[in-house]
Amino acid sequence: MSKIVKKRSKSRVSGVDRFLNFVRFLMATLIVLGVVAFISQQIWPNNPFAEWRNPDARGLTGDQFKGLVVSGLSQGAMYGLIALGYSMVYGVLGFINFAHGEVFMVGTMSGWITSEKLNDAGLWESNFILSLFLIIFVAITTSTVTAIITERIAYRPLRSSPRLIPLITSIGVSFFIQNAVLGLFGPASKGYPRLPEWLSKQRSIFTVEIAGTKILVMVVAGLSMAALWYLVERTQTGRAMRAVAEDKEIASLMGINVNRTIVITFGVGGAMAGVGGILWGLLFRSVTHMTGFLPGIKAFTAAVVGGIGNMGGAMAGGVFLGSAESIAPMVILEPLGVPGVSQLKDAVAFTVLVLVLLFKPSGLFGEKLSQEDRA
């Protein structure tokens, strides 16, 4: 008896599984090798491995490393803000809203228009704090409205259709918004006005050199996250959202207006993307119609990394992904002798997605999902 069982279980390990194990092993080895090579390079710059793979590499100074971490963290905070929208919509409706990156881009774009008008009016320089609040307000409004309109037009009629249909629709929505913005505002890259000196200058906090803008980004992201946490965990609306995410039918039996709750979810996700959009604008000071594409996919990655449907996880995933894509090229790839590593930043982000899904499909902080919901 036991023999048969053994045989069966043996035959169940198919070639694909073996291949996947091999890939897992290979990736893990590469990462460990890269990190070890990096550390040994730091300690003993002329070790034989470094001589062989990458004779020019100097390694990183402490300040450089801190700089990488800081820029990774601030970028990650933005990914986290966008990822919240993916995560919330996924939690409630169970589909990936591919157009969410475009909602973010619309926020950045509206922030650019407002900030430029404010700059012309002189308010930008004379009262920056007020104008900051104004552009954040405008961006939140635009993004929220965009998200709600797309939900109403494109997603609501498809709620009961097979899972891939809304996803394909959202791809269409994404392309439509991208190219509508291209048509309305033109293809040129648009620059945000110059930030005041007191904000953008380098500051030194606990021996870490950090630009003021990055501090602002992290603070605003933290505040929005706190506000969202309060909304979801402490208010009636938040309870309704959680209930709808759990089970739509039962929630509606309990007297919750499911449609309204879904709209609110989209709206809140859009608002977070709008805040993220403004932060992006302040940090990189330029926006085009394509701005939303890569951050959108990366934010989705962040949501998956943190465990999709989990809001704290989305933020943590964002920070993790941001730091990974800023640190990994220098720490893992360069010591292995890969030239031009800064070009591979985006590739690293996608690799993180593949790795997370290979190693832990439920994400780093995700709950154990049922078979049906698992990736």
Binding site: V16, L158, L167, I171, G172, G183, F350, L353, L357, A375
Partner: protein, 596 residues
Amino acid sequence: MMTATLGSRKLFDQNWKRILFWGGICALSQVFICLVGLPSELNRRILIESTLSLGYLFILWIPLVFGYIVSKMVELEGIENPKPGAADLLSGALTGLLGSLSLVLLMLGIENLDMRDPLINWNPKLFRLLTFENSIAFGSLVWIAVGVGLGTIGASLHQMSSQIRKMFTYAIFGLFSFAVLEDVIDDLSEGFRLEWLSDMIYAKKGGMTVTSTIVLAVLLALLPLIVRGKFKTTVARYRSDATPDAQRRNSAILFSIIAVLVIVLPWFLGGIINELLANVGLFLLLALGLNIVVGLAGLLDLGYVAFFAVGGYTTAVFTSPNSPWFSPETHFGISLLVVVVMATLAGLLIGAPVIRMRGDYLAIVTLGFGEIIRLLFLSDWLKPYLGGSQGITNIPAIDLGPWEVRGADPRSVFYMVLAFCVLAIYVSWRLQGSRLGRAWMAIREDESVAEVMGINTVNSKLMAFVVGAVLASFSGAVLAAKVGSVFPKSFEILVSIIILVVVIVGGMGSITGVMVGSLVLIGILGGPRQPGLLQEFQNYKLLIYGALLVFMMLKRPEGLVPTARRTRELHQEEYLQDAWLGDDEAEESKEVGEKL
């Protein structure tokens, strides 16, 4: 309210909210289209000489459609609707009027406010277009008259007898196709030495002449009167009566006619149209491959372009003397064998990690893979091997003994692509009914059930990936030889999305659908970098592709030429609802299901 007979409504007994809603949407879409710049950009393309350009057409269809929508009745079981009458016409007219008023406001706005800073199309060009190079008053009057008129026509479509409605639609769509196909008809008539024909229809500066428009409109409107549904009944009778043997013989005849046409026709066509056909073929090849992955197996592969890139780069490395690292300069045929091997490997490598993932994760991860591959081709890391952003140039023409396939001779490329397409169509056709094809469809419909039924889901899915990859890599190989060079820029994510639109618009899982889809979309609108018949669309292609994708998903997810199985799958709910309503309906829906 629910009395059995209701006369037509009184003229002012309107559902004002509804009119305001649809009129508002009509107004917004007209302003949106103007500000996106479609009219100004497309104004160059003249459809009817000195009367109508494509740019104006893009504003004009809106009141027509919304007039139609606003006066549409919701037909409910057991409630008799009031008879359509003048009141409905009025609602259509009011909708059109609201739309036109928005254009008037837009004109006033452009004259008095300066919003050019963010809105690039808020400019005198648009103003001139809207006022017909005249005063605002003139422009407003014309737009209001046109809007009200078109809205009324749209509303009256419900009240025409079906015969007249048919004539109307025949005339409109026929004229539109004549106007769009101007280049093709020009080219064809030149090839057959019938220049007088195209001279008669089209004006010298482009667009149809007014007389020919009227004559053609009358002829096209008469068409349904002459045919009178005879065609349909013949086909239906043929389907039900003919013996299988006769059917097979007839389809063989039909097939050979099409084959002869496709082989002979290019000789009568000029370079541009042949080039266009070659592009259509290249994308058809891609679409057929994606149709297997998405349409049959239900795996939404958004990184499909990766396989296209693998095909192109492999060909480039193996045939080009300029390949930086390894350059055996083999013949295209030998490199094609390598392409198949490489594509299979790529299909397995990309397929294996994603095969266990659920649909939407699979989509994003494959998208990630597609980008990773493009970024790798672009990176300095692989530059010594694959040329980085400079790509690999100087790929030689395909030498086929007596013939040579090179980009400068689009006809030869077309035949080359045609050969591959025929192969791909044959493969997909045979696969569809095979054990593997049925396994794919079972997986698409319900994976768990398929697995329980004893289908090896992992292997079947991998096979789908591999077959799709090989077809895409063929397309890449031909593209490389056609263009003579490969760059990472040619393999953007956009390609995947456009092929996805082609497959979805055509009809997922339907070979005919995919052919129709690529002919219509790639032929008329064009591929990611390749212009189509309407070259003016270059900048707006993606906008339209995006809108089309959403529209199709909302209104007709099964595509233009659907397969029966897919239709049933997507409209299952409706059938179930019908079944639930009552026994009669259940019987009916059963019949409908069987027909489908």
